[in-house]
């Protein structure tokens, strides 16, 4: 039971991240390789605030979101000057800088050894101790992110994002300042990723840079693309499917030393197969990358 709850909570965290990334991948139509970095910013911010200043869950969430949005501002700065292709390279650079920051600012992040002893989240007067209660909290967080993302994507704002994806020049010709829309989309996406990071830090209670690598960013892209970009349920389905696949591999008796490699090999292969044969993803409607 404990194991099932653990898998479910992790699925919720990944689903939040996939939902946040979908705003960029599905609606703006750009691959961002920096989502794991923003996730990490949220996680480290929450962890450090909860340890050193004993802040409650709502305040750490707030600060995590603000921190992730500020860091994503760097990407927005690059977006002012770059076309889609180079924006991917920009996000790639951001991911690696933030990751090296986690490793090298030892006085703050304790470097590769990670930050431990993160307290359980405290909601007003109630500290969430049991795994069941934490799962409930994760579901609520996922539901809020999911609902926010759907509200954004079905609003006039989301419509402009889709227009930018289809034809940026045309959207500009209709008087839309596409830069502002893109930057806002980055900011929303980063905020959701930061919130997921805060949740993860409180759940794992120990974080180190290895959870926020470029591989993790690619994994998140796989989740979105495999699930179905720019759809209501796609990113959630992708996240649950890939986490389930990862846990399923445990049961077919692979030795622990090779299971990580086999898992990643499968993600990679699945990503190619989906882009080649089913660009809509598992449950999506928009044909990604066509």
């Amino acid at each position: 039971m404990e194991y099932i709850l653990r898998v479910l909570v992790l699925s919720c965290v990944y689903a939040m991240l996939a939902v946040s990334l979908d705003l960029i991948v599905g609606y703006v139509g750009i691959l961002s390789l920096a989502q794991a970095a923003l996730f990490g910013i949220g996680a480290y911010t929450s962890a450090l605030l909860a340890i050193h200043w004993q802040l409650g869950f709502l305040s750490t969430q707030f600060v995590s979101i603000v921190a992730a949005v500020l860091v994503s501002g760097l990407l927005s700065l690059a977006a002012f000057r770059l076309k889609e292709d180079y924006l991917v390279i920009g996000s790639f650079g951001l991911q690696l800088i933030v990751y090296s920051g986690f490793r090298n600012f030892v006085w703050l992040t304790n470097g590769p050894d990670g930050v431990g002893g993160i307290p359980r989240p405290r909601l007003l007067f109630w500290t969430i101790e049991s795994d069941g209660a934490f799962f409930a909290l994760a579901v609520v967080c996922l539901a809020v992110s999911w609902q926010l993302k759907n509200m954004i994507s079905s609003s006039p704002f989301g419509r402009v994002l889709r227009a930018i994806r289809e034809d940026e020049t045309f959207a500009t010709s209709l008087g839309k300042n596409t830069m502002v829309f893109k930057c806002l989309a980055f900011a929303f996406s980063a905020g959701l990723a930061g919130s997921a990071g805060g949740l993860y830090a409180h759940y794992a209670r120990f974080i180190d840079p290895s959870s926020f690598t470029l591989d993790e960013s690619v994994l998140l892209i796989s989740m979105v693309v495999i699930g179905g970009p720019a759809s209501v349920w796609g990113p959630v389905a992708g996240a649950f499917a890939l986490v389930a696949m990862q846990e399923g591999l445990r049961f077919i008796g692979l030795p622990a030393s090779t299971s990580a490699q086999v898992r990643q090999l499968l993600y990679g292969a699945l990503l190619i197969v989906i882009v080649a044969t089913r660009p809509k993803g598992l449950v999506g409607t928009y044909r990604f990358g066509r």
């Binding site: 090296s100 693309v225 090999l265 990679g268």
Partner: protein, 292 residues
């Protein structure tokens, strides 16, 4: 001390330029970022390791085998993965996603077969080294520089003195116009993959010969290579070389002034700063060029 840094910069920029030039060559004809370039590099490094350290063949044979394997892998990725995707109508973003998939799959396949520990091609005591003006020069590093210069001369000749070069430059400068003039762009794409991948293969096998590799080595090489290519303008091969020298110098100075951990952050800092402050009017970077 400072002469040693100069030599180290030369070695690092030779290695970096091989990756960056190959990457630019492929980018200019395929028109998307081929991240699986890193996978080609890693495979070549391990092929060199198998031929030289495991089978025990001469290092020159290992280098040729590694370059051939890299060229074949590059061509195979283009023919069997990118081309079907393209004919199914995939855009640059779709191809980029697929190349990330290839990268992850191949890197992990390599790590499944060989393990995650670092591999060396030659035992350290078999590498001869000599000192000139207080600079320690090992034979493999010297070989890396010589082979890079040789490869660069060959690529330059190929691009500017042969029919293949005309085709590649035509596709790089204007794909549609090249099609109109009857250029076989699919052939040009395979050619650029073969050429670019062979260069990456040379970089990979020479890196395993001078230091050591692990399955993630290709990726770190690609990071600096991409940064060099982007800082150099992302269009011309000369730009890629100039970018490589600049990035490698920044790296060496960073590890001399601070410590080795700061090498990578400096590279990505340069990349991000360049992308943010890049003058909008100048489409190219520090080097202007029409085709490649």
């Amino acid at each position: 001390m400072s002469l040693q840094i100069l030599f180290n910069t030369l070695v690092a920029s030779a290695h970096c330029a091989l990756v960056a030039v190959g990457f630019t060559l492929i980018y200019r004809s395929a028109k998307f970022f081929h991240f699986a370039h890193a996978a080609v590099y890693t495979v070549a490094a391990y092929v060199g390791y198998v031929f030289s350290a495991l089978i025990g063949l001469n290092i020159y044979i290992a280098i040729i085998a590694a370059m051939a394997a890299a060229a074949c892998l590059g061509a195979a990725i283009d023919l069997w993965i990118y081309r079907p995707l393209r004919s199914a109508g995939a855009s640059a973003v779709g191809l980029l996603a697929a190349s990330l998939g290839v990268l992850i799959a191949v890197n992990n396949a390599v790590s499944l077969v060989f393990g995650d520990d670092t591999k060396k091609l030659l035992p350290p005591d078999s590498i001869t080294a000599f000192e000139v003006l207080g600079v320690r020069i090992s034979s493999t590093r010297l070989l890396l520089i010589i082979l890079t210069l040789l490869a660069w001369a060959l690529v330059y000749l190929l691009l500017h003195a042969t029919r293949i070069g005309i085709v590649l430059r035509a596709v790089a400068s204007d794909n549609d116009l090249a099609i109109t003039c009857g250029v076989d762009t699919k052939m040009a794409s395979v050619l650029s993959f073969v050429l670019g991948s062979a260069l990456a293969g040379l970089a990979g096998v020479m890196w395993v010969a001078t230091t050591a590799v692990h399955p993630g080595a290709g990726f770190s090489a690609l990071l600096t290579g991409v940064t060099a290519a982007v800082v150099g303008g992302g269009r011309s091969l000369r730009g890629a070389v100039a970018g490589s020298v600049f990035v490698s110098a920044a790296q060496q100075v960073a590890s001399w002034k601070f410590s080795a951990e700061w090498q990578d952050p400096v590279v990505f800092g340069v990349l991000l700063a360049y992308l943010i402050v890049k003058p909008r009017s100048a489409e190219l970077g520090i080097w202007k060029a029409r085709a490649i």
